[in-house]
């Protein structure tokens, strides 16, 4: 059971299809584990469908119908056969973005407790990355130049505001400062979406700030 959820504004944009790709991926992973958010996302999709059904129909000619009828025997793309259930520990969305498992990713070490692997999601405005904190490890205090969306995939962490566990969804806004510490019991793995680079405050890490660019690839 998760305790931290995306807010109603985010789920509205998510169900309307207007959320950026990487943020949608993050919200969708939370929702797949959260019945509370599934319930509201279902209602909001029904709202979208009601508005859709109430649209003023735009004329579509028989030529269009015939063009589609002529294509009905086309082979069905393999991707449609995908099931919605995850068969492994790695969520399907992440499987599509990485080859192999978390251990096969290429990691960049940030100090001794954190490593980051950047995923190539093709969203030009956002960076999508997997953060791996060692159990009990503390992340240097940092502030946010933009917004940061975090979904906990494994383990958990705490900061001055609370403690968070698998499936929890968090948003930090511009100017929020925090220094999260991974729970002692196990390593913590998070999916993180950034729309601007972080900025370290801790003097030992400040030298990195000029090198922290958004990696959107």
């Amino acid at each position: 059971m998760t305790n931290f959820h995306p807010d109603l504004d985010l789920i509205t944009e998510y169900t309307a299809g207007s959320l950026p790709l990487t943020q949608s991926a993050c919200v969708s992973l939370h929702i797949s584990h959260c019945r509370r958010c599934q319930g509201i996302a279902g209602q909001l999709s029904d709202l979208g469908a009601s508005l859709f059904e109430a649209l003023e129909p735009a004329p579509v000619g028989d030529a269009q119908l015939n063009a589609v009828l002529a294509r009905l025997d086309e082979e069905v793309p393999l991707s449609y056969a995908r099931t919605s259930k995850d068969t492994s520990n790695t969520p399907a969305i992440l499987q599509r973005l990485m080859r192999g498992d978390f251990s096969d990713l290429s990691w960049k070490n940030i100090g001794s407790t954190l490593r980051i692997s950047y995923l190539q999601a093709g969203d030009p405005q956002h960076e999508l990355a997997i953060y791996h904190f060692n159990a009990g490890g503390r992340i240097p205090e940092h502030t946010h130049r933009g917004s940061e969306m975090t979904l906990i995939l494994q383990g958990g962490f705490s900061d001055a505001h609370g403690s968070y566990h698998k499936g929890d969804f968090l948003v930090r806004r511009q100017g929020d400062v925090h220094a999260p510490t991974a729970l002692q019991s196990e390593d913590c793995i998070c999916l993180v979406v950034l729309d601007a680079p972080l900025k370290f405050i801790d003097w030992k890490f400040r030298w990195m700030n000029p090198f922290l660019k958004l990696r959107t690839v």
Binding site: H5, L8, D9, T12, E13, Y14, A16, G17, S18, L19, L21, S24, A25, S28, I31, R36, C37, Q38, G39, I40, A41, G42, Q43, L44, S45, D46, L47, G48, A49, S50, L51, F52, E53, A54, L55, E56, P57, A58, P59, V60, Q64, L65, V68, L69, R71, L72, E74, V76, P77, S79, Y80, S84, A92, I93, R96, L97, Q120, A121, G122, D123
Partner: protein, 202 residues
Amino acid sequence: MLTVTDKFDDETDSQVEPSGKRTDEWSECLTLIGKNEDRAAFTRLFRHFAPLMKAFALSGSTLSANNADELVQEVMLKVWQKAGAFNAEKAAASTWIYTIARNSRTDLFRRLQKFDTPLSADDVSGSQESEEAFMVLHQKRGRDRIRALINELPNDQAQILAKVYMEGKSHSEVAGELDIPLGTVKSRVRLALQKLQIRFED
């Protein structure tokens, strides 16, 4: 409240049998297509939904007429190909079809903006189909309530919902377009959702 819902039920043929099964024309069509590859059922569905899809494609008018026609064809083809996965006991036909249209339009927007991504909107939109019978019935009541109340929204709220859902604009895009603060957009959306009784249930 109940009277509104009841009145709505009388106006349509949509009913839930004791088993929780939905019987309405469009879910029957989808089921026939899924089971028997029924082209007549598909044609009926096309004549009803293709004009809605075209209107949806043209909402916000960022797509050309050609793109809109392509989208209609693509979505209707997907409806045919995916109908085997439609489960009338778990999903409403209109929501199922709308979801395909929404995701296809999002993917088309991204293709037109030359996004190069391994993910499709289907990958990141998940499924909101409930597994339990009581939830299915609950959702069906929610749908009827939304449809009954939607016409009673004040204009400014209805306008915002149309921009958010039909034009597919983010809250900040809507704020920019209407030249109103982002907070106003968010509060109008939230007020509309309150009126439609869409809320988190703990």
